[in-house]
């Protein structure tokens, strides 16, 4: 089974929500749509489901054109960010409803409902109404309904976004396991890069209605095709540092000159954007060749075992993720250290020129 989007686009009232997109999703894979809010994740999902019709292009299911087919006649299931169940039915009825409609026998329905309820730990709650359940239980009910349908395409639109932290972690670990057994195509929308990495499979990064890259998740993380993808696939966002290479010297903003070390030495002369992830910024010297930056601390956020430092560097805001709790005062001067091996090099207009050399070594 495959789902293919052929130059699909969506325009609403003159505004382009999805630019021309080509995408092929394979059977039994987890596909994560990663992008910030309003990047078009939900729109793309609705196109895949058949809830909306694309403005241009075709949607193929196993090579068969299903562009105009009603959503009732497609084998899809969907779980929304809000907990959507039928409030007037019990949990049992909710889970059974897609099977009831397709005219399965009573025993078959009962067996399937009990099995998926067991998986979602809903067995003691089958006789309750959805609104009497907690948020996590309501969402599990919606997930169970999506599971029981045995759909070829399962769409999960930020299913964990409205849950509390603990439940989210628990369900996030369960979801890939559960859906692996089912063997359908899974599409999972999220705003969090961390979630995409945990779920594995493939990831499509979205930015302003464009799929910027679609590949296996580690590949996208290590080799982002352009600065936009790198920015989307990093939380907090990737830091950028414009520089110009002339000979063996990198000219930074503010007139600083740094010798071009390692992979940076192999670049052709010209202007570039260097990009590095927040966790690669250090406040102590780790390596001999580290580049130093004189910065001023704007804000710190302590998240238990880690500290986010927001630094001002010649008018640019950088974020660093530092291990341990640091006692720092806003406004104080700080020296930041960066290993040149952690620097991705992008052309000024975006495309990747050279990945960070630590990636090549790994």
């Amino acid at each position: 089974m495959t789902l293919t989007l052929e130059s699909v686009s969506k325009r609403v009232e003159g505004q382009t929500h999805i630019h021309r997109t080509d995408l092929t999703l394979q059977n039994g894979t987890m596909n994560v749509l990663l992008g910030p809010t309003l990047s078009g994740k939900t729109t793309l999902m609705r196109l895949m489901a058949g809830l909306d019709a694309p403005t241009t292009g075709r949607i193929l299911w196993n090579g068969e054109d299903v562009t105009g087919v009603r959503v009732q006649d497609r084998k899809v299931a969907m779980v929304y960010q809000q907990f959507i169940n039928y409030p007037s039915m019990t949990v049992y009825e909710n889970i059974a409803s897609p099977m009831r409609i397709s005219g399965k026998s009573k025993d078959e329905i009962d067996a399937a409902v009990r099995k998926s309820a067991e998986m979602m730990k809903l067995t003691p709650l089958l006789d309750r109404k959805p609104l009497e359940l907690s948020g996590g239980q309501q969402q599990r009910c919606a997930l169970a309904r999506a599971l029981v349908k045995d759909a070829g395409l399962v769409l999960l639109d930020e299913p964990l976004a409205n849950l509390d932290y603990k439940l989210r972690e628990e369900l996030r670990a369960e979801i890939p396991k559960i859906f692996e057994e089912a063997g359908s195509i899974f599409v999972y929308a999220t705003t969090e890069p961390e979630e995409a990495l945990l779920l594995g499979g493939h990831v499509a990064t979205l930015w302003e209605g464009r799929v910027t890259q679609f590949d296996e998740t580690p590949q996208v993380y290590r080799h982002p095709v352009d600065a936009t993808t790198a920015r989307v696939f990093s939380d907090p966002p990737m830091n950028f540092l414009p520089f110009e290479k002339r000979g063996a010297v990198l000219h930074l903003d503010g007139g600083r000159e740094v010798p071009a070390a390692g992979a940076l030495g192999g670049l052709r002369d010209g202007r570039y954007q260097g990009g590095f992830r927040p966790n690669h910024m250090e406040l102590e010297r780790r390596h001999e060749g580290d580049i130093t930056f004189e910065t001023r601390l704007a804000v710190t956020e302590i998240t238990g075992s880690e500290t986010f430092v927001h630094l001002d560097h010649h008018g640019t805001r950088w974020v660093g993720l530092i291990h341990g709790v640091r006692n720092l005062r806003p406004g104080q001067a700080l020296t930041a250290y960066l290993d040149p091996a952690h620097v991705y090099v992008f052309a000024e207009d975006g495309p990747l020129v050279a990945p960070a050399s630590y990636v090549e070594a790994a």
């Binding site: 489901a49 809830l51 969907m78 809000q82 039928y86 007037s88 039915m89 897609p98």
Partner: protein, 297 residues
Amino acid sequence: MSDATTSAPGAASIPGDVSAAEPRARSRRRFRPNGSMIVMALYLLFLMLPIYWLLNMSLKTNAEILSGFSLWPRNLTLANYEKILTDPSWYMGYVNSIIYVTMNTVISISVALPAAYAFSRYSFMGDKHLFFWLLTNRMAPPAVFALPFFQLYSSVGLFDTHIAVALAHTLFNVPLAVWILEGFMRGVPREIDETAYIDGYSFPKFFVKIFMPLIASGIGVAAFFCFMFSWVELLLSRTLTSVDAKPIAATMTRTVSASGLDWGVLAAAGVLTILPGALVIWFVRNYIAKGFALGRV
């Protein structure tokens, strides 16, 4: 009331017993009328006075009604009620009213449900204007429509039928029902519709099995308003009927006959006319409270 507490024999005279003094003080405080009680009492008095007077009259004889002022019936009689419940020209008024009110409520709700769904879910050309213009019919007094309706129904042979009155009342009730139901439907997330379609429900099945139970209280509120309007509306129902479909309100107002005014029977008819409305309010009172909170009303 304060007499009752002080009359406990010897309670205050037991030496050293201080416990008696305290409840007395508390009870005096409890029965001291405060501002809100007075307001409430006055409110109820003004509200209930005409209804009480109607009930009072209906249980008197004509002679007593005309003889002078009495706060309650001296010679209690049920003859007035007996007359209404045995004379077909009286009780058929109720039957006619109930028939056309029921017809009207059923028609209004079944027409308003799909209309309200369209307004709440789809955007189409002129939807906002149309939604507002729905209400403009309610801005015109029914008297305006009496003449065209009379002529139209006479010429197509609908005059003096139940359906004529029911249809005439839909002119006012359908917009109101659409307005009320749309508010309730907007409260149901669109995702529920989509989930149902994804599950495989066809539209009619989804609407009846999933959507209508969700807005049941809205349907109750809308039906209540349709019922009440149609039940109390006099002008159109009187204009469009003569004998076969004559409503009770018309019967009541035409009883000023040659033999004078039959006060007692009229009052009894009035009491019986209030009853269905009171019953309906009693049954939907919880929904109404919910309706006022949730929906647009």
